[in-house]
């Protein structure tokens, strides 16, 4: 595309169907403890 650059091709919706294994890190266990940020965790699949 000439006018638009798309940074990611992964569609969040596609992750829902097989998601939810809960093996990834709990966000509050990484560093925060006061300000929840879930999206910065990594998927472990």
């Amino acid at each position: 595309m000439k006018h638009i650059k798309t940074l990611n091709k992964v569609n969040l919706k596609q992750t829902a169907a097989k998601g939810g294994c809960s093996e990834c890190q709990t966000s509050c266990q990484s560093a925060c403890k006061t300000s929840c940020t879930v999206a910065n965790q990594k998927c472990e699949k």
Partner: protein, 453 residues
């Protein structure tokens, strides 16, 4: 739903429900206002009229690109996540915050743990309670393989022998239960010595080192019982621990308050000290204390986040490494949508345990009346409370339903909402404003670094 913003000369559109991030030129950015899920294939006349400073061919071309994104499910994607509500339910416990010491050798003014004892007296966790906590986790984690235990306080190093014995006990159960424990310790660093450093680096998957940044900032709030700042004691110890850690996960983690709204200087100070994994977070406190962040401070904090993002871009573009926790965002390998819909999972998949063996939804709920979920002796947690916390997600928080950031903060911190907004489903407005700003900065950072490639 989309979120459209310009930051640091980047025009960005986030397609909320697909998670797609687009960087646009000025023309296509303006044209976005003429798009929708049902946009026609041909550009409408009013768009040509509004963009008459461009040729019709240019406008048609940009419009065509936007149309393609809609057709590809990367723009104006429909929100049909309601179909997954059934997956957001009470689930096995997989993470635990062990309050190994309700005592501390610092007296930090802003401490949410009431300067170490959570308002219930100074106490160290006995080994037997720690073992029962591990048993509880093993017996309540269902088929979850990875189990997380965070040694927290107070100051965990004040009870480090028990930490070591709990680790040993947990490791001895891993094979039998087919589990993998991941340990974290959060420490203020005062008691770190060679042996403890080596132990932490051997056994802990993650270590969180508490420091607020510049000496004068750190020492104004992080003080010993006799009122002296701790900066000079902890900095060399943290540097040594990280040096010996050989790249394993760690964070230097601090708090900023109304007294240092120029906190980007604290982040950069920590970077100059040799740390590259940094988390400096907004204080969460009673709005009536003088250092508390208020809504009127949001513009200044937002500007500071922008300043920090630009500094981080400079560092990264010079080929050096720096990671700011609240700007971390993996656009391709981030958590699945179900995780994002579940939220932080406190009181459901994650609980905190006190030195007495009482169970609370998370470390921040400890000591708050009405939030004790059970005890290790009983071995069960209140199913009604677990159910209530499992429902504390973006579906049930009215302010989240139409927020563009809902798949990133996932509903925010329930403890902050409870303490400062009156309920776990209520909105803690300052936190929401700051989260949205951080997310814009994080996305812009991705755009800037992609620009370099």
């Amino acid at each position: 739903m989309i979120h459209k913003f310009s930051l640091n000369h980047y025009n960005i559109v986030l397609d909320v429900c697909s998670g797609a991030v687009h960087v646009l030129d000025d023309l296509s950015f303006r044209l976005v206002d003429f798009t929708s899920a049902q946009m026609p294939a041909r550009c409408p006349e009013e768009a040509y009229a509004a963009l008459s400073d461009y040729s019709r061919d240019e406008v048609s071309e940009a419009y065509g690109e936007l149309y393609t994104l809609v057709q590809d499910g990367l723009l104006h994607t429909e929100d049909d996540y309601d179909q997954f509500i059934g997956k957001i339910a009470p689930a096995p416990v997989k993470a635990m915050c062990l309050h190994i010491a309700h005592d501390c050798n610092l007296r930090c003014d802003y401490c949410f743990a009431a300067k170490g004892d959570f308002g219930h007296g100074r106490k160290l966790m006995p080994l037997e309670v720690g073992k029962k906590a591990i048993d509880f986790l093993l017996n309540n984690s269902g088929n979850r393989r990875n189990l997380e235990v965070d040694f927290f306080g107070g100051e965990p190093l004040m009870n480090f022998d028990v930490v070591k014995q709990i680790v040993e006990y947990a490791r001895s159960k891993e094979a039998e239960y087919q589990k993998k424990f991941r340990f974290t310790v959060t420490t203020n660093g005062l008691l770190l010595d060679d042996d403890i450093m080596d132990y932490i680096n051997r056994e802990m998957d993650n270590v969180v080192l508490s420091i607020d940044g510049r000496k004068e900032i750190n020492d104004s709030l992080r003080v010993t019982p006799n009122g002296k700042g701790c900066y000079d004691i902890i900095v060399p110890k943290f540097q040594e621990l990280v040096r010996r850690r050989n790249g394993q996960q760690y964070y230097v983690r601090g708090t900023f308050t109304r007294k240092n709204l120029d906190f980007s200087k604290d982040v950069l100070h920590l970077y100059e000290l040799g740390f590259d994994q940094i988390s400096i977070e907004p204080v969460v406190s009673d709005p009536n204390v003088p250092y508390s962040l208020k809504l009127e401070d949001v513009p200044a904090v937002a500007q500071e986040y922008e300043r920090l993002a630009k500094e981080i871009i400079k560092i990264r573009k010079s080929g050096k490494s720096i990671n700011f926790f609240h700007f971390m965002l993996d656009l391709d390998q981030g958590p699945c949508a179900i995780k994002r819909l579940r939220g932080c999972s406190c009181g459901n998949e994650y609980v905190a345990v006190t030195p007495e063996g009482d169970i609370y939804p998370c470390h921040q709920f400890v000591g708050i009346d009405g939030f004790k979920m059970g005890t290790l002796d009983e071995g069960v947690i209140d199913p009604a409370m677990k159910q209530a916390f499992s429902k504390a997600n973006v579906f049930n928080k009215p302010h989240c339903r139409n927020c563009w950031a809902r798949f990133y903060c996932s509903g925010g911190c329930n403890a902050n909402s409870q303490q400062y907004a009156g309920g776990i489903l209520q909105q803690h407005e300052v936190s929401c404003e700051l989260e949205r700003k951080r997310l814009e900065c994080a996305i812009m950072l991705k755009a800037a670094l992609a620009d370099q490639e």
